[in-house]
C-alpha cells in the first residue's frame, strides 16, 4: 500500500505548473464540451482500486488532448498500472476522437466518439465499464494478464445538456475487440453543477464558484448475445472538481461498486492543465 501511495504522490508532484484547465468534473462520463481549438490539455488520472478479492492496484493514464477544430478534439492516452505485491507495467495506449456534428447549442447536444485501443489484459485504468467486466478478472498476476492483447474499437454516443448551471450527460458505449469477440455495451450518466453560479469580484481559492460537484453512474450492459443490466459491474460515484485560481484543475471521485462483480471502491484522482495556444506556438516554430 505504501508503494501505491508513493506512486500516487509522485504523480501529483510531477504535475507541472498551473495553466487554465477545463472544468468538467467527470472521470467516465463525457459531456459535449470539446477542447478549445489550438489548446493542448494534459491530465494525469490515477485510480486507486480496492477490490473485494483481488489485490489493490493503482491504474494511471496520462492523457494528452488537443483541440484540432472547435468541433473536433483528439486525445491520446498512455496507460499503466501497479498492483500491490506484484509489478508495475505499461499496459498500452488509446487514441480517441470526438466530433460535434451540430455546431450550435441545443437542448440535447450530441457528440460522436471513436477510439482505437491497443492495450493488454493488465490494463486497470477502468476508463469505462462495458460488457460483463468483473473484478475477478483482476485476480490473475500481471505476467499472465499481460499475455492477452486487446485491439479494440470503441464508439460512444454522447448526449449532453446545460441548463441553469447544471450539466446532464448520457453516454452509450459500444466496444468491439477486433479479435472476433462480440460487441460489448456500457453506459455512463452524469450530472453536475458549480457550487455558486455567479463569480465573486475578488480572486479567491476556496470560494464556492471554484468547485463543481455532481454524481456519475456507470456500468456494463452485457454484449451482443446478452444485452442486460444484470451480471455486470455498476458504480455510483460522487464527483468533485476544484479549479484553482492559477488554473490547475483537481478532481476527485470515490466510486462505489453496486454489484458483486464490481470493485468495492475505486478512488479516482485527476490533475489537469491546459497549454493555451499550443497550436499557435507550434506554428511560430515553423515560420
Amino acid at each position: 500500500m505504501a508503494r501505491l501511495l508513493a506512486l500516487l504522490a509522485l504523480g501529483f508532484a510531477l504535475s507541472p505548473a498551473a495553466l487554465p484547465a477545463q472544468e468538467k468534473p467527470y472521470f467516465v462520463t463525457y459531456d459535449h464540451q470539446l477542447e478549445e481549438p489550438g489548446n493542448l490539455e494534459i491530465s494525469i488520472n490515477p485510480v486507486l482500486g480496492l477490490p473485494r478479492t483481488a489485490r489493490a492496484f493503482l491504474g494511471s493514464s496520462l492523457e494528452i488532448g488537443y483541440g484540432v477544430k472547435g468541433w473536433w478534439t483528439t486525445e491520446v492516452y498512455l496507460d499503466g498500472q501497479s498492483t500491490r505485491g506484484d509489478s508495475t507495467v505499461f499496459t498500452g495506449w488509446k487514441w480517441e476522437n470526438r466530433f460535434r456534428p451540430l455546431l450550435r447549442e441545443h437542448w440535447i447536444n450530441p457528440v460522436l466518439y471513436i477510439e482505437y485501443a491497443d492495450v493488454n489484459g493488465a490494463d486497470k485504468t477502468l476508463k469505462e465499464i462495458v460488457g460483463f467486466d468483473s473484478e475477478r478478472e483482476f485476480n490473475l498476476p500481471n505476467r499472465e494478464l499481460r499475455r492477452e492483447r486487446k485491439r479494440e474499437i470503441e464508439t460512444k454516443l454522447i448526449l449532453s445538456s446545460n441548463f441553469r448551471g447544471w450539466n446532464i450527460s448520457e453516454n452509450f458505449i459500444a466496444e468491439k475487440n477486433l479479435s472476433n469477440q462480440p460487441w460489448e455495451f456500457g453506459y455512463a450518466v452524469g450530472a453536475s453543477r458549480p457550487l455558486a453560479l455567479a463569480a465573486s469580484s475578488r480572486n479567491c481559492t476556496f470560494c464556492r464558484e471554484n468547485f463543481r460537484a455532481g454524481v456519475e453512474i456507470y456500468g456494463g450492459l452485457g454484449d451482443a448475445h446478452n444485452f442486460t443490466f444484470s451480471g455486470a459491474s455498476h458504480y455510483l460515484a460522487p464527483v468533485l472538481s476544484w479549479e484553482l485560481p492559477g488554473g490547475v484543475s483537481l478532481r476527485f471521485s470515490p466510486a462505489f461498486g453496486l454489484t458483486g462483480r464490481s470493485h468495492r471502491v475505486l478512488l479516482r484522482f485527476g490533475v489537469s492543465y491546459e497549454v493555451e495556444g499550443f497550436g499557435r506556438r507550434l506554428r511560430r516554430l515553423f515560420r
Partner: protein, 133 residues
C-alpha cells in the same frame, strides 16, 4: 507497442496537428460578425441583469482574464484570428445577442461554445465587455 504502431501513431498525430495549424482563416472575424447578427430575436432582446453593477464588472474582468484573454489578449484588443472586442460590432451589439453568441460560439471559426459557464457568469463577462472603450 511495436515500431510499426509507433510510426503509425506519430504520423497520425502529425496529421492532426497539421490540420489544426491549417485552420488559420481570415474570414473568421466576418463569420463571427454574421453569426452575431443572426442571433434569434428573443435571445437578442434579453437584458443583462448585471448591467452597470460595479461588482459584476470586476467579476466579469476576472472571468475574462481566466477564460478569454488567452485568445483575445489581456486588453481585449484581439490577437491572431480572435477579434478586437472594442470594435463597434461588439460594443453596439445587444447584451442578449452577445450572450447567445457566447453560448453558441462559432465552432467553425474557432470560437468555442461557453455554454459550460452558468448564465450569470456570461452576463458578468458581458457587463465587463460593455465597459471597454
Amino acid at each position: 507497442m511495436s515500431h510499426a504502431h509507433l510510426r503509425l501513431f506519430v504520423l497520425a498525430l502529425l496529421l492532426v496537428c497539421a490540420g489544426g495549424l491549417a485552420s488559420q482563416d481570415a474570414r473568421t472575424a466576418r463569420s463571427s460578425d454574421a453569426q452575431l447578427a443572426g442571433a434569434p430575436a428573443n435571445a437578442a432582446a434579453r437584458k443583462n441583469p448585471f448591467e452597470g453593477r460595479p461588482d459584476a464588472v470586476r467579476a466579469g474582468q476576472k472571468l475574462f482574464q481566466r477564460h478569454c484573454a488567452g485568445c483575445h489578449g489581456q486588453d481585449a484588443r484581439g490577437k491572431g484570428k480572435a477579434p478586437d472586442l472594442h470594435s463597434p460590432v461588439v460594443q453596439n451589439a445587444s447584451p442578449g445577442a452577445l450572450s447567445w453568441f457566447l453560448k453558441n460560439g462559432n465552432l467553425k471559426a474557432g470560437m468555442p461554445s461557453w455554454s459550460r459557464l452558468p448564465d450569470q457568469r456570461l452576463w458578468q463577462i458581458l457587463a465587463y465587455l460593455k465597459t471597454l472603450d
